[in-house]
């Protein structure tokens, strides 16, 4: 059975190559104010303190977080939704189960964060939340696949 909506297997490697460097850059951006100077943008006007910046009307910004945020999510999507080397109907079932599991766990974590975390730290939680569902899914799915392989090897030894 052919499963649609999935990328070929090689996109998994491409995804990791995009996601890992982007993740490091985003972390540096968040915690060490790292930014690429060539991604600076200025319209020449000064920021209006009272109006603030609105969509498509920025005066001064640096696009490091925008670009690497998008690359990070693109990379994670590629890792998450590309075919396995040996893809069959059971792989698809395990994938969908893992996705359900990831959405559930992520929602529980967000609910806990709503109860336990306040102020600007909560905003940070929301920033992480942009890609935690995908990260939890990738971790869970790979763990399930690993467990399957291990079970098979163990049975072989018996």
């Amino acid at each position: 059975m052919e499963t649609k909506m999935l990328l070929p297997n090689r996109y998994k490697t491409i995804g990791w190559c995009l996601a890992l460097p982007s993740f490091i850059i985003i972390m540096l951006y968040l915690y060490f104010d790292f930014a690429f100077p060539f991604l600076d943008y200025s319209s020449g006007k000064t920021d209006n303190l009272f109006r603030g910046e609105t969509l498509f009307n920025l005066n001064n910004t640096n696009f490091t977080d925008e670009i690497f945020g998008i690359l990070l999510i693109t990379g994670l999507l590629m890792v998450a939704f590309s075919r396995e080397k040996m893809e069959d109907e059971r792989t698809m079932q395990l994938r969908l189960e893992s996705l359900l599991w990831a959405v559930l766990i992520n929602s529980i974590l967000v609910m806990l964060a709503i109860i336990l975390i306040y102020g600007s730290v909560f905003l940070q939680v929301m920033v992480y939340n942009m890609c935690t569902t995908l990260i939890i899914f990738i971790a869970r799915f790979n763990y399930v696949m690993y467990r399957e392989k291990k079970r098979l090897n163990k049975e072989r030894e018996l």
């Binding site: 059975m1 069959d88 109907e89 059971r90 392989k149 098979l152 049975e155």
Partner: protein, 66 residues
């Protein structure tokens, strides 16, 4: 649902890997079916039955509660 896949495989004298290759799924899937961890799709069940030269009902049997 229970199945007699292990028996059928013994009759044909083929390994899980060989059966997996014949019906183009992974070895893990055949193993999961045999240990009642996975219920195959109708397509896969028909393919397996064709390889074993048996009817689907002879390999996959409904249990009470299904």
């Amino acid at each position: 649902m229970k199945n007699t896949l292990r028996v059928q495989r013994a009759i044909l004298n083929i390994t899980q890997a060989e059966l997996a290759e014949k019906v183009s799924v992974s070895r893990q899937t055949i193993n999961a079916i045999e240990s009642n961890k996975y219920v195959p799709s109708t397509v896969l069940a028909l393919k397996i039955a064709a390889v074993c030269h048996k009817k689907v009902e002879e390999i996959f049997i409904l249990e009470e509660g299904d």
